[in-house]
């Protein structure tokens, strides 16, 4: 795929008529019964790792549906087609290229990653009366602007951790104190504030909150402060790479807490591999696991989805892959309900959506974000190198290990 892009790029760049090329190819794509999904993914820049997972999720869903003869909407057969570009985490690039897709008649958009990209693009899509179902922007701002056409697979940031204090309460012996480390960006900050408020309300003592800049090379001073004032639970609302840095440095400096919760990071196989046996017992919020008991149309079970994904990609699966695929599945279900591919009708169907899918039950709040109870995260814990669901009770695949043994006692 890479090589093809290069060759395409070279030819388009070298041929003087390169500017005209997009018109031709797109025009062909629109004809016949083809459903085009547009949008951007960040494939370069710091969010690229998740961006790649999201992109693979889209490809998985589209390929699967096409291989199974396409989808039937209102009595007509459709093939699906993806038309995505790299926004390089640059909002003005994203807005401009979304506009191009709008001009070319794309009606249905998938989201980028990061609120400073998703929000401006959502505004353009909303204004044009088209639709966006996205997995990359959880910030509250996206859902509090009164947009009617923007839907998110995750609950808004401040609600994502709502069930967390309940999980902590269920641990024996009951933890009393918590500290929070967070990255200073819109999503992490709202999310961490939500967690701090919820924990305070539930009676936990919050010993400290530590804000990190967006690029971190060293957390020794934060860890020194944590060793000086050790909480029972340390929660890190940080991105993958920073989470791994924190965990590694905690191990390497012998900074122990009874439970380490990292919002992003442990869901990646590369993270768990890097820590090896030390990953044991680290908790993470997850929205989906391959062995979850979910069933639905198209992909019959979560396991079947994972199986199909592995037949196409060698990258380990994460919930971002499933969430991305679920965006497309949700679109199709809504279109079948609406018996139409008219954005206004599909929108109404999405607003009323209540679907059982391989990803779980899908239902949006009136503001468009995921229902915090149905689509909120479950708690997973790394046990023997695998993620096991430990909370809520009804989804649990293993009991929680608590307190987690200190780093140097991990076998």
């Amino acid at each position: 795929m890479h090589r093809r892009d290069v060759i395409r790029g070279l030819s388009a760049g070298l041929v003087a008529g390169g500017i005209a090329a997009p018109f031709v190819s797109r025009a062909a794509a629109q004809s016949g019964k083809t459903l085009v999904f547009g949008g951007s993914v960040p494939l370069s820049g710091a969010a690229a790792e998740t961006g790649l997972n999201v992109n693979n999720g889209y490809i998985t869903a589209v390929d699967y549906l096409n291989e199974h003869g396409g989808v039937e909407i209102g009595g007509e057969k459709y093939q699906l087609k993806l038309s995505l570009f790299d926004d390089a985490s640059d909002p003005s690039r994203a807005v401009t290229l979304i506009q191009r897709q709008l001009d070319e008649g794309t009606q249905f958009f998938l989201g980028s990653f990061g609120s400073n990209i998703v929000l401006p693009t959502a505004a353009v899509v909303e204004r044009a009366g088209k639709l966006m179902v996205q997995t990359g922007g959880g910030s509250d701002q996206i859902f509090t602007k009164g947009y009617k056409n923007i839907f998110g697979m995750y609950p808004r940031a401040s609600r994502q951790t709502r069930s967390t204090p309940e999980f902590f309460k269920g641990l024996k012996p009951e933890p009393r104190s918590i500290s929070v480390v967070l990255t200073n960006d819109a999503f992490s900050k709202t999310s961490a504030q939500g967690m701090v408020n919820d924990c305070k309300a539930a009676g936990f003592e919050v010993l400290g909150t530590y804000e990190l800049p967006e690029k971190v090379t060293d957390v020794s001073s934060v860890l020194a402060a944590i060793r000086a004032k050790t909480p029972d639970i340390l929660a890190c609302v940080t991105h993958d790479q920073d989470s791994l840095l924190i965990a590694r440095q905690m191990i390497a400096t012998g900074t122990n807490v009874k439970l380490l919760l990292q919002e992003l990071g442990p869901q990646l196989a590369s993270y768990r591999e890097s820590l090896g046996k030390y990953a044991e017992g680290i908790c993470v919020h997850t929205y989906w696991e391959p062995d979850a008991p979910f069933k639905g149309k198209f992909f019959p079970t979560a396991a079947k989805f994972a199986e199909y994904y592995h037949s196409k990609f060698t990258r380990p699966i994460t919930y971002h892959v499933a969430g991305a695929a679920a965006c497309i599945v949700t679109y199709i279900l809504a279109m079948q309900d609406a018996k139409s591919t008219e954005p206004a009708k599909v929108r109404d169907a999405l607003a009323k959506a209540d679907y059982e899918t391989f990803y779980g039950r899908i239902k949006f709040t009136p503001d468009g974000d995921g229902d915090p109870l149905l689509m909120g995260p479950s708690m997973a814990q790394v046990q023997k190198g695998k993620l096991e669901l430990v909370f809520p009770e009804n989804a649990r695949t293993a009991p929680t290990i608590y307190p987690v043994p200190p780093w140097d006692k991990k076998a």
């Binding site: 760049g13 807005v95 401009t96 001009d103 609120s115 400073n116 910030s139 200073n184 819109a186 804000e211």
Partner: protein, 321 residues
């Protein structure tokens, strides 16, 4: 005599181009209107940079500092007036943003402009990062949570077209300012600084004040552009306006077009924006490589920019005759 005539031709051409540009949205598809916005924004940024960098030879690597200050100070001021009509909010934001840029630039100018060449460039890079970090990490500036901007458009007019025209006004004003500076005593003073600062000073050019004035003008323009840009996005975080690629692009426009000329940054911005957004827009993981390659080729093959290249070609032709 011929000089005057050629100047008059240029003015007429520019006015015609301006009118054509203003009417362009009537026939352009929205995507191209949006690309047009970016071209105008980038061209104006490039021109603002050129007032100091092109004329006086002081290459700033931190133009994004003022884009960010203009956007955030303006936006915060507008948020104070949340109930006022949007147009009024925008004017207040514009005043606050450009005033902040002017004051900060004036304070920075004398110490920073003592540095020359590469040291000035690095210092400005540092300045941009200091402001970005402070903006992001001090909560009252809301850099990390982000700032929402009111819709200042005119009812019935497509926002894309509205911002296009707004950028056009800004770009035209910048061009006018740069042109007036270029042909004034001040402008010749700046050129003399570029050629030989010490000699210029010896001959009585008030180099310190000239440099500072150019720095402030350039900063204020960047601030105004930053605020308009923020409005056109509707929501910004620190990362949307304090961008190192903007710092660099401001220079690349002049390099690509022609250093020290007025038309250079405009041509450069147009080519680069169209190339990265229209030609390379489709490629998932190739555009960064292509942009890099373009920079390398540019430096090696057209060291004096396209204007320089064109002049060389024209010159050669004349000689042959």
């Amino acid at each position: 005599m011929t000089r005057q005539r050629s100047e008059r031709t240029w003015i007429c051409l520019s006015l015609a181009a301006l009118v054509a540009a203003a009417l362009a949205p009537l026939v352009l598809a929205p995507f191209y209107v949006r690309v047009g916005q970016l071209v105008l924004y980038s061209a104006a940024l490039g021109l603002a940079w050129a007032i100091l960098g092109g004329f006086a030879g002081y290459w700033s690597f931190g133009q994004s500092a003022f884009i960010g200050i203009g956007a955030f100070v303006g936006g915060l001021a507008e948020a104070e007036l949340a109930t006022a009509p949007p147009a009024l909010q925008f004017l207040v934001g514009l005043a606050a943003g450009s005033a902040a840029c002017a004051v900060i630039a004036a304070l920075l100018a004398y110490p920073v402009l003592r540095l020359r060449g590469i040291y000035f460039a690095i210092a400005m890079l540092g300045v941009a990062h200091v402001f970005a970090e402070l903006n992001n990490n001090i909560d009252i500036f809301q850099g990390s949570l982000g700032l929402t901007f009111p819709n200042i458009g005119i009812a019935g007019l497509d926002p894309h077209v509205f911002y296009y025209e707004l950028f056009l006004v800004a770009a035209a004003a910048t061009l006018l300012a740069a042109w007036l500076i270029r042909r004034s005593r001040f402008g010749y003073g700046l050129l003399s600084i570029r050629e030989d600062e010490d000699t210029a000073r010896m001959l009585g050019v008030p180099t310190e004040h000239y440099k500072a004035a150019a720095f402030v003008v350039s900063a204020v323009i960047a601030g105004v552009l930053g605020l308009i840009y923020a409005h056109s996005l509707g929501y910004i975080t620190t990362g949307s306006v304090y961008r190192d690629d903007t710092n660099l692009n401001a220079i690349v426009y002049s390099l690509l077009g022609g250093m020290g000329t007025l038309i250079g940054p405009i041509i450069g911005a147009a080519i680069l924006v169209v190339l990265t957004h229209v030609v390379l827009g489709d490629f998932l993981d190739f555009h960064m490589f292509a942009t890099g390659l373009l920079l390398v080729l540019l430096v090696l093959l057209a060291p004096s920019g396209l204007v320089g290249l064109a002049r060389k070609l024209v010159g050669r032709k004349k000689v042959r005759r």
